[in-house]
């Protein structure tokens, strides 16, 4: 009897704790999502649209701009996310060592980039990476390059700038998640391992990584989603250029909705490409995480 009441309470509380969030999500997410899902089957200009069946999906397969945006987005994902997460984990591990000299300085410094506002950040990066900017000045004086690099006007270098900018801004952010999680790991485990003579890399690999697994999974899913939705940086620093070389799926959706003749149905279809990609990738990330825990 008491057991049943306990279980019922548990169920009730389970709902009560999540209820406020569910109500808000229900109101402010479900409707817009259903609207866009419905729209993805509509074709037309502006608010003059009609049911088009799978016409939008057919259009995707023939759209060179979509293919460029998809390729760019995947390139950003494959290169940027691993670099950033490995760096963040590395920094967090180093900074979690209480004997490290200047620890709080380094931690503060590396986190600083993510408190800048988007506007400030884009202005700063544009001016630093200008042809006569500070970065080229530095590279030329140190003799690393012979002539200025056309950072923002060359398709390859523009991608490099975007990747550097995102990494600059978000590495410290991910590091904070790792650091916060590391503080919840019992120090005595490390002490014990140390006394047993287990080297640093092994402590990292066999204690830190498994303990941080939920957070690593969290950051990799979030970063994957963030990169697949990459918009702010490319919109403010490169505008997707030069010649679409930094155009991402999200920026393309934005252009289709707000810049071009509004094509809401097609824009919604492109958004669901991102959803499908995130679904597939998150599934793999969860599977990998589950395997490792066995």
């Amino acid at each position: 009897m008491a057991q049943a009441k306990l279980a019922r309470d548990e169920q009730l509380n389970g709902w009560l704790f999540i209820m406020p969030a569910l109500v808000l999500v229900g109101i402010f997410m479900i409707y817009p999502i259903l609207w866009s899902l419905w729209m993805s089957f509509q074709t037309g200009r502006g608010m003059n649209f009609s049911f088009g069946g799978l016409a939008n999906i057919e259009r995707l397969t023939q759209d060179p701009v979509f293919q460029r945006a998809l390729t760019n987005t995947l390139i950003f994902l494959v290169i940027q996310v691993p670099i950033m997460l490995v760096l963040a984990l590395l920094f967090a591990t180093a900074l979690n060592d209480s004997k490290l000299w200047g620890r709080s300085f380094f931690r503060t410094a590396i986190f600083l980039p993510c408190v800048t506002s988007l506007v400030a950040y884009s202005i700063l990066f544009k001016s630093m990476f200008a042809v006569d900017g500070v970065i080229n000045d530095f590279l030329m004086t140190t003799g690393l390059v012979g002539s200025p690099i056309p950072w923002l006007s060359d398709p390859f270098w523009a991608k490099v700038v975007v990747i550097s900018a995102i990494t600059w801004r978000w590495t410290g952010y991910n590091m904070i998640f790792y650091l916060a999680a590391m503080q919840n790991i019992d120090r005595s485990i490390y002490e014990a391992a140390k006394i047993d003579g287990i080297p640093a890399w092994a402590r990292f690999w066999y204690i830190t990584v498994p303990m941080l697994k939920p957070v690593i999974l969290f950051t990799s899913v979030i970063s994957t989603i963030g990169t697949l939705q990459l918009f702010d940086e490319v919109n403010t620093i490169t505008l997707g250029g030069p010649s679409d070389s930094t155009l991402t799926l999200s920026l393309y959706i934005y252009n289709l909705t707000f810049k071009f003749m509004p094509s809401f149905g097609y824009a919604a279809t492109v958004s669901y490409v991102i959803v499908v990609l995130v679904g597939i990738l998150s599934f793999f990330q969860f599977v990998v995480a589950r395997d490792r825990s066995k």
Partner: protein, 424 residues
């Protein structure tokens, strides 16, 4: 513990109540809200116009809100698309390239002003671009009449005076650029390779555009488009420009004296004159023309914008009357904004005013406004259609190939294919 919990609950309740209390309406009676995008340019001219109207009609006040241009376009498009009139302004500034896109995609959103404004007094091409099915929707504002702004001191050092810049072709322009760089070390212009503005200037100077007046693609099989793209490719390959990225880089290159000038719209005058130490060192020449093209001129347009009244506005009577009286007739007003903001309106009668006739010491005593007015009258009218942004994007995608000397016909085919795909 229960008390803590209930206190916590109460403060959450208060916070939610606080949020809903913020839901107060911002509308006030007979206040006309205007959206524009540059507080120092069109925002300032609108303030001047508003002050004039309020002086005569004290019951009508104005709320002038400025956003970044891209932001304004995004807001407007989001709101019109949502189909709700909530939150729209009474008057909005729209760039001319986008006029037809808004008029055709959102029928009924804008108030036709035909019959309320005397359009015979305005430059015809400005009226035409805001006309749909016989109704004109805009109060034409600034013109984007183009010119070649140049540093007269640099060009003089290289042996070119104003006369040498009259009636030239784009190939001659490139030749001059090479000569100027050899003799003075300054590139001729700055160019952003993520922008197709120069090609648009070339197209319109010959009365051509990406689209035919009835909205069909005019890219493949159009001799004028091919000529413009060929000349554009020549410029790209010539190296007479400094390659820049972004607006600030672009304007910085000529305002700092690094390059010798730029080919752009008259609205750049204010930016150039913001460097008082360069007074007397600038000149303006007509743009080069497309060689051997029928109907080619030295006059073209880049950008420019007009005011539109939102049809659902509660203050549309006041807004319309305001535009028709101040913007539609007040010649003195146009002298004032010309002097203060360097804004060249499209009201032809304003050309007879004093300010337009005056010579400008900044430009070495040239009668620049008179010149611009004359070129304004010569701009070939084209129908921008509704897909300018899409066509621009397709051109920009081919710029690297064109710069590397790629085949013109292949580039045209690629642009045409992308435009057709994007405008279905």
């Amino acid at each position: 513990m229960t008390t803590t919990a209930s206190r916590w609950r109460r403060s959450l309740g208060l916070a939610i109540a606080g949020v809903s209390m913020l839901a107060v309406s911002a509308a006030a009676a007979a206040e006309v809200t205007v959206w524009c995008w540059d507080p120092n340019f069109n925002g300032a001219t609108m303030k001047e116009a508003a002050a004039r109207y309020t002086a005569a009609h004290p019951d009508v006040t104005f709320n002038i809100v400025d956003f970044a241009k891209a932001d304004l376009e995004q807001k407007l498009q989001a709101q019109l698309a949502s189909g709700t009139t909530e939150g729209l302004p009474d008057i909005v500034l729209i760039e001319d390239y986008g006029a037809q896109k808004y008029l055709q995609s959102f029928p009924g959103a804008f108030e036709p002003l035909t019959g309320k404004v005397d359009y015979t007094g305005f430059a015809p091409y400005k009226v035409e671009l805001a006309t749909l099915n016989g109704q004109t929707y805009s109060l034409p504002f600034d013109s984007g009449v183009t010119g070649f702004f140049y540093r007269s001191d640099y060009l003089k050092d290289a042996g070119y005076d104003d006369a040498a810049l009259q009636d030239i072709t784009w190939d001659k322009f490139i030749e001059i650029g090479k000569d100027v760089e050899a003799k003075t070390g300054h590139k001729l212009i700055s160019l952003d390779l993520n922008d197709a503005g120069l090609l648009r200037i070339m197209l319109q100077s010959a009365g051509a555009w990406y689209f035919t007046p009835d909205g069909q693609s005019a890219i493949a099989g159009n001799a004028k488009f091919k000529a413009a793209l060929t000349n554009f490719a020549h410029v790209l390959q010539s190296g007479v420009y400094k390659q820049v990225a972004g607006w600030n880089d672009y304007t910085g290159a000529f305002t700092s004296g690094e390059v010798s000038g730029t080919v752009t719209g008259v609205w750049m005058t204010g930016t150039i004159k913001a460097q008082p130490d360069q007074s007397g060192k600038w000149g303006v020449a007509p743009i080069p023309k497309l060689d051997g093209v029928e109907g080619a001129t030295h006059a073209s347009n880049l950008g420019g914008s007009s005011w539109y009244v939102i049809a659902s506005s509660a203050e549309k009577a006041e807004a319309t009357d305001f535009l028709a009286t101040v913007w539609g007739k007040d010649v003195d007003f146009y002298q004032k904004i010309l002097i203060n903001q360097g804004a060249l309106g499209s009201l032809l009668a304003a050309r007879e005013g004093e300010a337009f006739k005056a010579s400008d010491a900044f430009f070495g005593g040239q009668a620049v406004w008179q010149n611009f007015s004359d070129w304004l009258a010569a701009i070939p009218g084209v129908n921008y259609g509704i897909f300018t942004n899409e066509a621009d994007a397709a051109v920009i995608a081919q710029i690297p190939a064109l710069k590397d000397g790629g085949d013109i016909d292949a580039a045209i085919a690629a642009i045409d294919a992308q435009v057709k795909q994007q405008t279905q």
